[in-house]
Amino acid sequence: MNKHPLPPDWHERQKALDITRSYIVQAPAGSGKTELLVQRILSLLATAESPEEILAITFTRKAANEMKQRLVQALESASSDQPPAEAHAADTWRRARAVLGRDKAASWQLLQNPSRLQLTTIDSFCALLARRMPWLSRFGDQPRVTDDPSDLYTQAAENLLTRLENGSPGQEPIARLLVHLDNRLKLLRDLIVAMLGKRDQWLRHLVARRKLSPRQLLESGLQLYVSTFLSRLNQLVTPDVHRELRSLALSAAENLADDQPGHPLVGLLQTNDDPESLAQWQAMSHLVLTASGEVRKNLNKNSGFPAGKSAEAVAMKARAMDLLQGLRDNPDAARALQALRRLPACSYAEEQWLVLEALIDLLPLAVAELQEVFRQQGQVDFIEIAGAAHKALGSVMQPEELLLQLDGRLRHVLVDEFQDTSYAQYELLRCLTAGWEPQDGRTLFVVGDPMQSIYRFREAEVGLYLRVCQRGLDSLPMERIVLQTNFRSVKPLVEWANEKFAGLFPASEDEVLGAVRFSAASAFDSSEAEAPVSVHCFVERQDTAEADAVVELVRQARKQDPAGTLAVLARSRNHLVTIVDALKKTGISYQAQDVDPLTVRPAVQDILCLVRALHHPADRVAWLAVLRAPWCGLTLNDLAGLCHGDARSTVWQMLNRPVEQVEMFDQVSEDGRERIERIQPILARALNNRGRISLRRLIESTWLALGGPACVAEADLLDVRQVLDLLEETGEDLIVDDLERKLERLFAAADPQAGPEVQLMTIHKAKGLEFDTVILPGLGRGIRSGERTLLRWLEHPEYELLLAPIPPYAGEEQEPTYRAIGDIMQQRDDLEVLRLLYVAVTRAKSRLHLLGHAKPNRENALVPLSGSLLSVAWAALGEDFAAHAVINENEMPVETMPLQLRRLPGTWRPPQLASPLASAEAPVARASLGTHYQDEVIRSRRTEEGRVIGTIVHLWLERIANDGPGQWSQHAVRELAAQFMQQLSLHGVPRNRLQPCAATLETCLINTLECDRGRWLLSGHPGAQSEFAINGLVDGQLIRATIDRTFVDEAGLRWIVDYKTSSPAHIGQDQDAFLLEEKKRYQDQLRVYLNLIRNLYPEQAARTALYFPLFKGWVVVD
């Protein structure tokens, strides 16, 4: 036998590498599809013009990253000349080698520049498109993308609802909906928020509908739906049976008419509807089906068959019994009759229509509000990005134009996980490949496994996979390739799964329901053994017992195969909580990502209380909590003593009560007082620091100072860091309740010390992963199922669109259309649950353990909870489970031990922290930094203008000095008016103040030119300098000074002059007094200048002076 046998589907795999054709590949679990994708990309690269011609779309960033790593690795190993021995690897090596050749020829430098490989998620690709097409995408510049848009939705919904009171469009629809929903504004808001998160699905319908006459259109869809169903029913129920059913029903109705006029059958008599109408059918169904929809076992007076002895009655009853038997033999027909009752109505009731109409009006307005919020916040969600990308692509008329915006001409698109494509993504793909045809050098290659489509909650539509399979993508037919080989699991496990799941998956495909057929896998492995699957069934839910069983299985597995990997996979995070608790007790280390919620950690709660307390002085619960937390640890006695019946004051006030109020201190113990005294100054500092340092720092520093870290376990330090990071994200505009909501989405970090041997996660997270042993607990548990939405909608290839509005809040009955759509959703969900189980099971390489509970029904048969994983597989697994059932051992009641608290010892003081590493360099100070403005934080306009004028005057005086005052005339200054205004305006002088300010400026300059002193100052003396820049040391401080004017006069005296544009006129002061004051004010500054100049020119005598151009003032300062 060959050491490296080829997989049985080897030919299919080779075919998939034909790069001239487009394929849709069905790749089941463990079939090595990533390798296949890598090989195809390599093959494409080897002949590409540029690497940007190829676009590979993955489902997650992680997958994109991984694929990139694989590609780069392949290219790297291809630089070695020795092909690997294994055939498969050698194939990859050969292809990579070809790419390297191409890389060299075209100097792509792929290995240096791996970002040229376009491997990306659809979201990132959309973002790229929107970024590159700012106008067409209508974004302008790319906004930030948030992955938690709920705040934005809420804001938009609340903005929308304000229309109720202010009379803008939307008022009446809102009012109508409010009446409909029991005047629950909050409920309405939340429902709108939920709708906004799915607007990619309904918006196009509503916008399209608004223009046409929507009611007719929508109702015709409903009618078509019903009539299609009825015609199918007519095929299932032969005309003979129909006739018989009708005749019996009519006579039963007559029997009932007197006693039970309200019986549904009686309705048959009163109408002259078409006998094949829906109402007639529904009424007739009551003859053979019970109220709960089961085929009747017997007939009596209440079903229209009085216990008469007459031959007629007996015969009729016999006929009816035959009919019933016939139905039992024809379960399809029975099912169809049952389904009848849950069909939508053919038209909307008046009230219902009004509500639907209100929604059709209102929801687009909600989207408009959302866009306004996006605009204001500069943030959008992924839906908006995808929409923008689609819009941009869709409006490109000439594909050539794309070349001007994208890095290369797109020729090949590959899509991974195609079974989880959403409608929006599908549309985008259509846009990208518009006009592609077979054999034109462009190909599409999509890979997926419809049996593993599990992302319906993220809008994945497995129906799209089926559609592309059958019809291709627009003009591009897709050849189907089905892979079968499972390289992952041992043969007995593969065969077990084949056997169990074959009967569970539906027999026929259905695009609307997302029903996919089972396709059997064949194991690459050839070992023979018992199916390595164990089953543990509990009667009634016993979380603790089940968790213990899981722990036991983990322990066994660790013993048997210490190097093997093991995963506990659950449907929802909730289902792992008890198991985590149980595992913690055993000391087995494990990795659990996103399982352990942070909010229930006391350390986290304490931080939260600290945030609340510092955020609101009157939040008494939070303040008391801060005092009771382990870092302070006041007892109830001390807390009561402190509060002392005072219901109003803030706790902070109480902590700061003057000591004279002895009464209170009497009631607080010595120990308590010591504790208070330690933390009081810390809290005082924190309160004073509010706003000055970031919220994160505020909380972090306070927590550290209080000794928070000393009170927690090591792992909690990481948790706290997460909370602090969250605080940093929220920033200063914190809303505490939002914070808590956001916190709910955080989980304890995975244990960094734990290896990969034992992992806990949800099934969704495990997609694409494999483990030696897989344990599936909680198969009997359900999840909270879908809430009601404002609108239910269903897109259907035949009936187009079905829409139903939410039923009235106070309504009693289910509305048929709303319910009918809900039923279809439910069926889709059920099918998805089955696929989820399939994904879970196929994660296992060699062992699988199934655990779940079921409840005995009235007949004492075990039945799993409907909607649970177990329920969808009960047909195949029920027997096994029943055989292994463990009866309830009465869960131990939770003991109510008194709560143990921990706290720091009262005398504890924090350890000394290291002091900062100081720099020894001299600090640099600036002498010219005017200090006199500091007393006025918000300046008056006058001061502000004065400052601007000063700056500009300095500039011009420098210029005049440089040119020489002789070059300047008053006239020349007057000519500059426009320049002045322009400069003033640039510096923020408002338009209506330009004239007066320019006038002042002009006065300053003209004065200077006019006055002897001014001209003297500016003329070209020896050593004259304007804006003289000098540095030096004064009193040991480094000073960087700029001196307005300095020169040596005729007498050899050096002048140091500073210009000031202030004037006594402004403050109505006498000139001499003013000069005296200014002199005093600036003498320090001038002294510094003088010092510097003396240092620089030690032999020169120097004097300092101030010059005031505005009033030709001059004062010598010494």
Partner: protein
């Protein structure tokens, strides 16, 4: 002595001789100035001329006024505004709305600058729609610029070049260009022009030192940054004078991490003291001014509208940045607590002023400053004229002044500087007078916010030994030690990011920055080469995992050897405090002080209910008076809706009296009476809540209440005869040592002379709680305690709900048949289980349990002992205080079915 302390010789000479040194950026010029000053000091000088070192762009601006014809240049804010207006107009014209005009303008302006700088242009024929839009805007700009004789500062290099060639402007005979990796075409042209004037140009880069660079892989960015910080600590403790730089190509991704970790490791003490006045490291890329608390507050004050949400009200009353905020802090907080109790989701400012005044009186809280604040804000809002930006700048200044911004605490130096920057933003706003027209208030605030956002802020002062720099900022500098962080293959080379408004082929042709992968790779090589020469001791690191993804090292550092440098032990305060933790004291603290017998303690039934649900809860709520803050919800809250329904029925029965009278009412009369009751109930609520319900909601609520009342009275009219005797009577009972005030909604006298004790509920009350071991629903039972047993004929919840099927009486009666459906199957089953037969058994149960609960409360029993998670803890506001979560399995993770 540190290895590098001397300034580069050539450059020192050049500077000392007064040659012009033009640097690639401000940072380098500051750095060279500093080095020069140090060198002069080292030489023993006490004063010296400041050298002529400045950034090229600063030099260009200085040339501005000396250009021939003195062209007028717009400042950046003006330029941006002009482009925004151009785009707005285009959007209007084409009808294509854009999500973000200002950002679009910024990006388009950037494209324009690229074209100017590269002296490139392109043809609309060879462009896509996006590019054509840009061309429209650009030509609009050109037209306007021409008309108004405006210039864009980006034109400076070319204008200066032309001026130079024409013989204008003075030039020294030698100019040094420092730190330029490359020159854009316009700068190249400028250099040529300088050269043509006979000026010698010398390009200067620091001399490279023999390098010892090593590579290090860390698990994740946090570890990576921690290692880096500990490496720095190690170096600084050996040589406090060492110059150390950390270069971070992915600056934004690492910024916050560096800030956290460096502070923790390098200044743990300061961190724990919340002291930020002495930074120990300097970040080259500063953050937006908007992040400064004092500025943020100013903007928020200006932004607040006439209608403010309760959250905004809370903020207004809490922010320290307004007048008297600190001295009135406690009183304002209490006012806010009371305001929240009114459960109003949002307020009109004018209304709010009145309500706060009233609350302040009621609770004798002195908040004159707070009132003045709200009043000023409300008046400031009323100004709705359109005016010029400059006038707005002034209005805003005045308003802030009136509000007492920036508050009564003195400003820290950082705050002071931030305020200065904010003022310059106001000046920029005013400078728009030169280009813009009148605008509305909201628009003006938005523009100001954008200006603030775009302003970078970094407090001055101090001269920390550690520099954290972006890849570009370190040009021209050398260090004793250098660490380069985060060099994954995504960081270098970066992915190209061409400007979307210029066709890619055009950008490629001109090799514009960021336009293609090839270009990025060249850039990366250049940067790496320069960085690896900037110190003799270099560590380059990369994280193996980041943002949940496996990383690879940048191909540019593939050849460096792996090596671990020396690290100091961690000094991070959380670690250090944790390591020094003491043994924690253990305690069980489930007992508070007993009530003082001398003083009567009285309270409502809530005490007993809390005591039953969880003793701690009773203690905390009623002894410590700990209550969470209310969180108002949008619309009419559930509690008010409940009260409304109660009141309607109470008022109705006050009027009508008994069933016979109800029967006697005709359809119209009944409706009229209901309407009267509904209106009165709404009025009463509005008075209590001190605000009117919004008109439309009120009307819908009135209709709803009428509907419910009619539905409910239908039920009442069908039951056995009764007479309503008491409605809402206050009543006291002794429960153990306690006196409890109980309120009962209604007592009916029944045909047999017994009483039915009735409580309206709009939720879904569960009478089985009466049978609980601790009677967790004790309101009706407490009332019954005070009654003669035999006189009690029925104890009932009247479940009044919108859904007809959910309406009805639920509870216990002596004559069960008279109350069909009242006793649920579950209740009956419980009866069986306990072997009870009649109402009397239940009454005995209450007689036994309730006084015990009362006694427990008086004794101060405060055990954390909830009856269950669902019933007690799920909606309890005390979770943080009671510490129930210290108990494992406190009830989470349960419900899913």
């Amino acid at each position: 002595m540190p290895a590098i302390k001397l300034m580069d010789k050539t450059l020192y000479r050049a500077a000392a001789d007064g040659y012009l040194v033009l640097t690639v950026n401000e940072r380098l010029s500051r750095y060279l100035h500093k080095q020069f000053d140090l060198e002069q000091q080292r030489r023993g000088l006490s004063a010296w001329l400041r050298p002529n070192i400045l950034s090229l762009s600063a030099w260009l601006s200085r040339c501005q006024p000396n250009l021939p014809g003195m062209p007028a240049f717009l400042n950046h804010a003006q330029l941006q505004r002009v482009w925004e207006m151009i785009i707005e107009e285009d959007v209007e014209h084409t009808g294509n709305h854009l999500l973000q005009t200002p950002q679009t303008a910024r990006r388009a302006l950037q494209a324009h600058h690229l074209l100017v700088s590269y002296q490139a242009d392109f043809d609309a024929q060879l462009a896509a729609d996006d590019h054509r839009a840009f061309l429209r805007w650009r030509s609009a700009w050109m037209k306007q610029a021409k008309r108004n004789a405006w210039h864009d500062p980006a034109e400076l290099p070319l204008l200066v070049s032309s001026a130079l060639i024409a013989g204008h402007l003075r030039l020294p005979d030698k100019i040094f260009l420092a730190g330029f990796d490359e020159l854009a075409p316009d700068l190249q042209q400028l250099c040529n022009a300088m050269a043509s004037r006979g000026t010698a140009l010398e390009s200067w880069q620091p001399a490279s030192s023999p390098t010892d660079a090593s590579r290090l892989a860390a698990d994740d960015p946090f570890t990576e940054v921690s290692l880096c910080a500990r490496w720095i600590r190690q170096l600084l403790s050996a040589d406090p004078l060492a110059s150390i730089a950390v270069v971070v190509p992915q600056f934004e991704a690492y910024r916050s991490l560096i800030e956290q970790v460096f502070t923790a490791e390098l200044a743990p003490q300061l961190l724990a003291q919340g002291d930020e006045s002495q930074p120990v490291f300097n970040m080259s890329l500063s953050q937006s001014l908007d992040r400064e608390g004092v500025v943020h507050a100013a903007l928020r004050l200006l932004r607040s509208g006439m209608q403010v949400s309760h959250e905004e009200v809370s903020w207004l009353l809490q922010t320290p940045y307004v007048g008297n905020a600190v001295s009135e802090s406690a009183a304002r907080a209490q006012i806010d607590r009371e305001l929240r109790r009114l459960r109003r989701f949002d307020w009109r400012l004018s209304r709010l002023v009145k309500v706060v005044t009233r609350l302040a009186e009621t609770y004798s809280l002195a908040v004159p400053g707070g009132l003045a604040l709200l009043d000023a804000l409300s008046k400031g809002q009323q100004m709705s004229t359109r005016q010029l930006p400059g006038a707005w700048a002034e209005s805003f200044t005045n308003l802030l002044r009136q509000l007492g911004w920036p508050g009564e605490r003195g400003l820290s130096s950082r705050e002071f500087q931030a305020v200065e920057h904010f003022r310059s933003c106001l000046a920029q706003l005013a400078s728009l007078d030169g280009v813009a027209n009148r605008l509305g208030r909201a628009e003006a605030v938005r523009i100001l916010s954008r200006l603030v956002n775009a302003t970078e802020f970094q407090p001055e002062g101090g001269d920390p030994p550690v520099q954290v720099l972006g890849a570009l900022e370190s040009s021209g500098m050398v260090f004793n030690h250098l660490w380069i962080l985060g060099l994954t293959d995504k960081a270098l080379p970066r992915a190209p990011a061409p400007n979307p408004f210029i066709p890619l082929p055009v950008q490629r042709r001109h090799a514009m920055q960021r336009s293609s992968a090839e270009r990025e790779y060249k850039y990366a090589e250049q940067v790496t080469r320069r960085l690896l020469a900037a110190s003799a001791d270099i560590v380059v690191s990369w994280p193996r995992m980041a943002t949940g993804l496996q990383q690879r090292p940048s191909p540019l550092i593939a050849n460096l050897a792996e090596r671990q440098p020396g690290f100091a032990a961690t000094s991070a305060p959380d670690r250090v405090i944790w390591a020094g933790r003491p043994e924690l004291e253990k305690m069980t603290d489930s007992q508070g002080p007993a009530l003082v017998t001398r003083k009567a303690f009285s309270g409502g039934t809530g005490i007993i209910k809390d005591q039953a649900l969880c003793p701690f809860r009773a203690f905390a709520h009623h002894r410590l008076r700990a209550e969470g803050l209310d969180v108002p919800e949008i619309g009419i809250d559930n509690m008010s809706r409940g009260t409304l329904a109660h009141t309607v029925l109470e008022l109705f029965w006050n009027d009508v009296g008994d069933q016979a009278a109800l029967h006697a009412l005709g359809e119209a009369a009944l409706d009229a009476k209901i309407r009267v009751a509904v209106d009165a109930a709404l009025e009463r609520l509005e008075k209590e809540r001190r605000h009117d319900l919004p008109a439309r909601q009120r009307q819908i609520e009135a209709d709803r209440l009428s509907m419910i009342a009619r539905q409910w009275l239908g039920i009442e009219s069908r039951r056995g005869a009764f007479q309503v005797t008491v409605a809402e009577k206050n009543h006291r009972v002794k429960v153990g040592n306690l006196t409890i005030r109980t309120r009962i909604d209604r007592i009916d006298e029944l045909a047999d002379g017994t009483m039915a004790v009735i409580d309206y509920k709009t939720g879904r009350p569960d009478p089985t709680q009466w049978l609980d071991e601790r009677v967790t629903e004790p309101q009706l039972p407490l009332y019954c305690l005070g009654l003669e047993r035999s006189s009690i004929g029925a104890v009932m919840f009247a479940q009044v709900r919108s859904k007809a099927l959910e309406c009805g009486f639920r509870g216990l009666a002596r004559e069960t048949e008279a109350w069909p459906g009242a006793k649920s199957r579950k209740l009956a089953a419980l009866f069986n289980e306990k072997g009870w037969e009649s109402l009397d058994d239940v009454l005995s149960h209450w007689d036994k349990v309730l006084p015990a609960l009362g006694d427990d409360f008086s004794r101060g029993v405060a055990a954390v002992d909830p009856v269950g998670f669902e019933l007690a803890c799920k909606y309890c506001d005390l979770t943080g205080l009671c510490r129930v979560l210290e108990r494992q399995n406190a009830g989470h993770g349960g419900d899913d079915e």
